[in-house]
């Protein structure tokens, strides 16, 4: 192996050599710089690969020929190798990125850059604290110089402030080092400690060193001096400052802390405060780089927290810390580099990235990496971290980390929403190829790191799962026409279903049919879109991949990974809607909140065991079980949009594209239901202080069913109406599931099927109407029945089926419902369900009346029927509903038998003469026949009597002697249920929305308040840094020095 000291030597040597290069020969100087950085990277890479392959041992390099502590020694271990690679590679890429700036400033700037990178690798490798100090000083000076590469005038001030505060810190470090030497008699890190927590003698020494190192990490709130650098420096340098400097400084702190575990809580405390505080502050940022700065600080805070937990993490420490670090470094470097592509500094200006889809993909990747979503390293790290912390009884820390992460996700996804939805500036000059190339390399590195971490993980690698790979393949297929991609997508879904069919149990089968076959049917509607439809298929397929994997998941990890994948996919899918930016954001915020609850729940349940079988949920210890239940239930209920957690749904579903609405409503909601199903299957009877937790679910389900329906009544927007209706329907399903008896579960399953069919059908029908009328406001339509007969039929059938009127399939659901509640323990919530049934009738009638009946408007006179491909799936659904109404047994019978394995009592008897339950009977064929015969007879009778009726037009109505003035004034549709609002309106005041708004408001207010610390004055910042030390000292010593 090449000696690692060469890394430092090359950096230093090249910097020295640059001095000999002619000032004008910038090309040579730059080539030299690049070569040096490349060589440094390659050496580090060599070591890293050797460690990965297991061919290398940790090597100590002695510099002066003496063993430590008599001379400085460097160490090259796996962590050092990886970090050196990170630092050197970042430097290398940044150098290419900053080519223009470096050319402008000449060889000196290049030399400073080389020194900075060299010093950073030095910090990583050295084992000597005084050496550490030297390298820090080098970095401080180099930073001060490199900041000037920026064209931003504020950079000068920023660099100066940085220098002032950095010197204060350096002095502190130096004093600390002196004390250490005094106490230990050695400057070698390996000779320090273990030092007990204390503030005299060795304790004080270590305190000073640590505090200095922590301050180097820019902890909240003593970090104003560093943030200006992020904001004003050249993005290429900011990338180094964030990715490389931060990592190196952290590693330095880690090295010192490793000697004295007693000091770890200090790191944890500072880390977590920084993580949450910086994230809250970032919420209010409009400047992209400053936001990235806060985010960097937050990520370093998280890492410091993890460092503080190394006593607990044990062997996983490197994996976890490394995962978070790598994700942070790559993503942050990538984002800083991307910020150089964007001309202006407002977050909304990132909309310019839309000029290149790959950049948007890169942006999405980096955001996902930062938030810790699969398949990136942060995901695996977070998973393991949560598990280990939970098992170590540090649930509070998990909670804090997850809250911080949620806030972080909030602003990052909001930013992403700006980029994809806001208006792109006019007259955009184009991106620099050079810079874009760097971003692409980073993107590649991101995905590679994801694969590596997946591979290293004890759990399956997300990137080696077939559905995920299939979905990702669509990224490559993007240049193809949409219709070909659609065909492939359908083939993929159906193919996967056929392939997996033998392995499904009946429950999985039903969900698989809905997700895969049902997904394929909805995809038929997507044939309606022409062109390439960029950015539609990858997220859609990602969602389906997540769903397909979810229902087969055997371990909690696969389950959770699938959950995150489908969440991510559906977020991008929802975001595509024209007006959906805020709704997609609230969707992802709630979904991630829910996902984190699930993560915490799984981690609590697993109690350290990995992999954790889903079935083992049944064996969770008595003490933990209720908490596991609550966490998981809350998580799943964010997806089913149960009341209280529902506010994301109406907007997300209503503003999505026409074929996306049925996907996210008809199919995606079922994921939550499936989760609840699995939960109840394994932990159904969990008690909490003597109360069966399913009681709460029954109530929540009933209230959702009721209020969802009530809110649907008052919507003017057709898709919103359907969206609220979904809340109601999911409430029903939750209710019946939580009844915890045989028929309840059967009913829930019927809801799963029925809701998929009629909600998809209705969304497509309304979407088809929207495609023609360009409005979703119902009162602006009317009288479309003759123009759109097929759409009308599907809405009509959907309504009959949904409202439970015989003879269509909805009635079967009602019948099972009555039989199910006969054996239920609870009676009061049933009242709400009784009330919500007819309420469903109200909003559905409003839907069909306001759109298809009543008065036709002038501008709609020449409308055509909805597009063909939107009608195809609708007609399939119509046929299915009719068939399902007559022969429900085809599907339900097997499931009924399957449910008997959980609830042997109370099943149905399937006979040729109908279906018989314990209490009643139901003969779908007979019902259909009788009604059909009567209907036809009466119809023929009427036809005989009234066959010669004169067809009249819309204004031929008995209008009290007058004639209607205009269709708009004659169509009764707006505020259709006014009397109902008078009587029941108080129930639908937006209490929940107000609550969640208040939560976000408080966060924002806090951020606003905290911003007052950041005066922009260098002296203040220096005082803050000192104040931080004093406060830390006082708290640490308990006020008694």
């Amino acid at each position: 192996m090449v000696s690692p000291i060469l890394i430092i030597a090359i950096g230093l040597g090249a910097a020295f050599l640059l001095g000999f290069v002619n000032e004008d020969r910038k090309g040579i100087a730059f080539a030299l710089t690049l070569a040096a950085l490349a060589a440094m990277s390659l050496i580090a890479l060599g070591w890293t690969l050797a460690f990965a392959a297991g061919n290398a041992q940790t090597a100590d390099i002695l510099t002066a020929g003496f063993p430590p502590p008599f001379a400085i020694n460097l160490r090259m271990g796996p962590a050092e190798a990886a970090l050196s690679l990170l630092v050197a590679a970042t430097g290398f890429l940044s150098a290419i990125y900053m080519r223009d700036a470096l050319y402008r400033h000449g060889r000196r700037a290049m030399a400073v850059l080389l020194v900075a990178i060299m010093a950073l690798t030095g910090i990583v490798m050295t084992r000597d604290i005084f050496n550490l100090f030297v390298f820090f000083e080098l970095i401080v000076i180099a930073t001060g110089g490199l900041v000037l590469l920026s064209e931003d005038r504020r950079a000068l001030a920023a660099g100066f402030k940085y220098l002032v505060v950095a010197q204060v810190i350096s002095i502190m470090l130096l004093i600390g080092i002196a004390f250490v030497y005094h106490a230990m008699g050695s400057l070698n890190i390996d000779d320090i400690g273990p030092v007990a927590l204390g503030f005299s003698g060795a304790g004080l020494a270590l305190f000073l060193v640590l505090v200095a190192l922590f301050l180097e990490l820019k902890p909240f709130p003593a970090n104003g001096w560093a943030l200006d650098i992020y904001e004003s420096a050249h993005p290429g340098f900011s990338a180094i400052f964030s990715a490389a400097s931060g990592s190196a400084a952290l590693f330095a702190a880690d090295k010192v802390l490793a000697t004295s575990p007693a000091w770890l809580p200090l790191a944890t405390a500072i880390g977590i405060i920084t993580f949450i505080g910086a994230n809250i502050l970032a919420l209010r940022q409009n400047n992209d780089r400053r936001l990235l700065g806060y985010s960097s600080v937050a990520q370093i805070g998280l890492l410091l927290t993890i460092v503080g937990q190394r006593d607990l993490l044990g062997d996983s420490y490197l994996f976890i810390a490394g995962g978070v670090l790598v994700a942070h470094a790559i993503a942050k470097a990538g984002l800083f580099w991307m910020s150089g592509l964007v001309g202006h500094r407002d977050l909304k200006d990132w909309a310019v990235l839309r000029a290149n889809p790959v950049l948007i993909f890169a942006f999405a990747t980096f955001v996902a990496m930062l938030v810790g979503l699969p398949p990136f390293p942060g995901f695996y790290a977070k998973w393991d971290l949560a598990h280990i912390l939970m098992a170590g009884d540090r649930a509070w820390l998990v909670a804090l980390i997850l809250i911080g992460a949620l806030i972080e996700a909030g602003y990052l996804f909001r930013w992403f929403g700006f980029a994809t939805k806001r208006e792109a500036p006019e007259g955009f000059p184009g991106f620099s190829v050079n810079k874009m190339g760097i971003v692409f390399v980073t993107l590649l590195a991101g995905w590679t790191s994801g694969w590596i971490w997946g591979d290293l993980s004890a759990n399956p690698n997300v990137l080696s799962m077939v559905p995920v790979l299939f979905a990702l393949a669509f990224l490559v297929l993007e240049p193809l026409p949409a219709r070909i991609k659609n065909l492939i997508a359908i083939a993929g879904l159906v193919g996967w279903f056929v392939f997996r069919y033998p392995a499904y149990d009946p429950l999985q089968l039903v969900f698989a049919i809905i997700i895969l076959v049902g997904g394929a049917v909805i995809f038929l509607a997507s044939f309606n879109w022409q062109g390439r439809r960029l950015g539609f298929y990858p997220p859609a397929m990602l969602m389906y991949a997540g769903l397909a994997m979810l229902i087969e998941a055997e371990t909690s990890f696969t389950f959770f990974a699938s959950w995150e994948i489908l969440t991510l996919g559906s977020y991008f899918l929802i975001l595509r809607g024209k007006m959906s930016e805020p709704h997609a954001l609230s969707y992802i915020a709630f979904s991630l909140g829910g996902a984190f609850a699930i993560l915490a729940g799984f981690a609590l349940a697993a109690n350290g065991t990995q992999p954790f079988e889903m079935a083992a949920l049944a064996d969770v210890a008595q003490t933990a079980a209720p908490y596991v239940f609550i966490l998981l239930a809350v998580g799943f209920m964010t997806k089913t949009a149960s009341i209280g957690l529902h506010i994301w749904l109406p907007g997300a579903h209503a503003e999505a594209e026409t074929d996306v609405s049925p996907m996210v409503s008809g199919i995606l909601l079922k994921a939550g239901l499936f989760g609840l199903w699995v939960l109840l299957m394994h932990m159904g009877q969990t008690q909490f202080y003597g109360i069966n937790l399913t009681y709460f679910l029954v109530w929540i389900g009933a209230i959702s069913a009721f209020l969802g329906g009530l809110m649907a009544i008052f919507q003017e927007d057709a898709k919103r109406l359907l969206a609220y209706s979904s809340i109601s329907q999911m409430g029903y399903a939750l209710f019946s599931l939580a009844l915890m008896n045989h028929l309840g579960w059967l009913l829930a399953l019927m809801f799963v099927i029925n809701h998929y069919v009629y909600k998809s059908m209705l969304f497509l029908a309304v979407g088809g109407v929207y495609a023609r009328t360009h409005t979703k406001l119902m009162y602006k339509m009317g009288g479309l029945i003759t123009l759109m007969p097929f759409s009308f039929v599907s809405v009509l059938i959907g309504i009959i089926a949904m409202s439970g009127v015989p003879p269509l399939s909805g009635f079967g659901g009602r019948w099972v419902f009555y039989n199910a509640i006969m054996t239920a323990d609870m009676r009061l919530p049933i009242i709400l369900i009784f009330l919500s049934g007819p309420i469903g009738f109200l909003y559905l009638f409003r839907l069909i009346h306001s759109i298809f009946l009543g008065q036709l408007k002038d501008e709609h006179r020449k409308l055509k029927e909805a597009p063909f491909w939107l009608l195809v799936p609708q007609m399939i659904f119509v046929l299915f509903l009719l068939a399902f109404a007559v022969v429900p047994g085809l599907i339900l019978r097997r499931v009924d038998a399957y449910i008997s394995t959980f609830f042997p009592e109370g099943g149905l008897e399937w006979t040729s003469g109908g279906i018989i339950s314990e209490f009643g009977y139901w003969n779908p064929v007979a019902i259909m026949l009788v009604i059909g015969v009567i209907f036809v007879s009466v119809f023929l009778l009427l036809l005989w009597m009234n066959h010669d009726a004169q067809k009249v037009k819309q204004f031929n109505i008995g209008f009290a002697g007058e004639r209607p003035y205009r269709p708009e004034t004659t169509h009764f549709a707006w505020n259709f249920f006014a009397p109902y609002r008078k009587a029941m309106g108080f129930l639908v005041l937006p209490v929940v929305t107000t609550f969640w708004n208040a939560v976000t408001d408080v966060l924002h207010e806090t951020a606003d308040f905290a911003r007052k610390f950041y005066t922009g004055n260098g002296q203040t910042y220096a005082l803050q840094a000192l104040g931080f030390v004093v406060v830390l000292f006082l708290i640490g010593s308990g006020g008694t020095p």
Binding site: I785, T786, G804, V805, P806, R814, W815, Y818, I821, M822, I830, I831, F834, L835, G837, P838, I839, F841, L842, F845, I848, H849, L853, G854, G914, F919, G920, Y921, W922, N923, A926, I927, V930, I931, I934, V938, F939, L942, M945, N946, D948, A949, Q950, K951, V952, Q954, N956, I957, G958, F959, A960, H971, F972, F976, F977, P979, Y980, K982, A983, M984
Partner: protein, 301 residues
């Protein structure tokens, strides 16, 4: 599946009897009302004349397919409801098509005609029709609530959803009727009964003074004839359900006639002494009075 011709014959006969009974009974009820106010009132066979007159109209119009089908839905709803419920207890044949489904079928089939009628009336494009429908639908959602609760209560009481079984359990004396064994549920159901019979005080749906006659504003000729037929048939079909569930059912046609008339008169008596509610008032009324009684019923079982 072989066709059971005798059963179809009996069904047709049931239909015939009930329609004629309904024609006479509703006329009688009006006549009684007239006599109370000192008039002679309509002739007892007036309903038939009106029916023929409407069928005999020469010119007719149609507003479209759903308009045309509205009355068909309506009458199918009425006929179906009648035939899905056993009419005479103890007779296999007079039970008609009740083999197709139990109490739940009857409860939900009530909406079939309502839905069809609403769709048909709405296609006429008449705003008064639409207003009438919103009133009707708004009111019925809460008016049916006490019934749903009462039905739940008595099906828990008898541990069955089979109407025949429920009637069977009430045989053997008047005190076996649900009316006496479960008076609270009966009271709750009667709230719903009065609320859904389209009589004052709950007839704002068809308020002639403000929205001519609500949903059927545009209907005439044979459409109206079908609806008139349903108007005499449907309340009886509904009353039969109440009779079976709460008043011991009927073992022969005579008992049927008496009981249906008596139960029907409840809504009439309430109607003649109460002025009309606005929709939100009746919603509030049912929530304030009907709902608590219903809740009490399911809590007491």
């Amino acid at each position: 599946m072989s066709i059971d011709w005798p059963r179809i014959g009996y069904a047709a006969l049931t239909l015939f009897i009930v329609i004629n009974y309904g024609m006479i009974m509703t006329a009688l009820v009006r006549k009684i009302g007239a006599r109370v106010s000192g008039r002679y009132g309509i002739r007892i066979y007036q309903n038939y004349i009106d029916l023929v007159k409407n069928i005999a109209l020469r010119s007719k119009i149609t507003h479209g397919v759903m308009y045309y089908l509205g009355p068909v839905f309506r009458l199918t709803g009425g006929v179906g409801l009648l035939l899905f419920v056993p009419t005479i207890y103890g007779s296999a044949m007079w039970s008609n098509f009740s083999f197709a489904g139990d109490l739940v079928l009857a409860l939900y089939f009530v909406f079939f005609g309502t839905l069809g009628m609403a769709l048909g009336a709405a296609e006429s494009g008449h705003p008064y029709s639409a207003i009438g429908i919103t009133r009707g639908l708004s009111q019925v959602t809460v008016a049916e609530l006490p019934l749903a609760l009462a039905v739940f209560a008595i099906s828990l009481q008898y541990q069955t959803l089979n109407i025949t079984d429920i009637v069977a359990a009430q045989q053997g004396g008047i005190f076996n009727w649900t009316l006496f064994t479960n008076p609270v549920a009966t009271l709750a159901a009667l709230f719903a009964f009065v609320g859904t019979m389209m009589r004052s005080p709950f007839d704002v749906v068809i308020a002639p003074q403000e929205i001519p006659i609500g949903p059927p504003t545009e209907y005439h000729s044979s459409y109206l004839a079908l609806m008139q037929t349903n108007r005499v048939l449907f309340p009886i079909a509904k009353t039969v359900i109440y009779m079976n569930l709460f008043f011991g059912g009927a073992t022969n046609w005579f008992e049927f006639a008496i009981k249906v008339f008596a139960i029907y008169m409840i809504s009439v008596l309430v109607g003649v002494v109460h002025p009309r509610f606005r929709v939100e008032q009746s919603i509030t009324f049912f929530l304030k009075w009907g709902l608590p009684v219903g809740v009490l019923a399911i809590l007491l079982v």
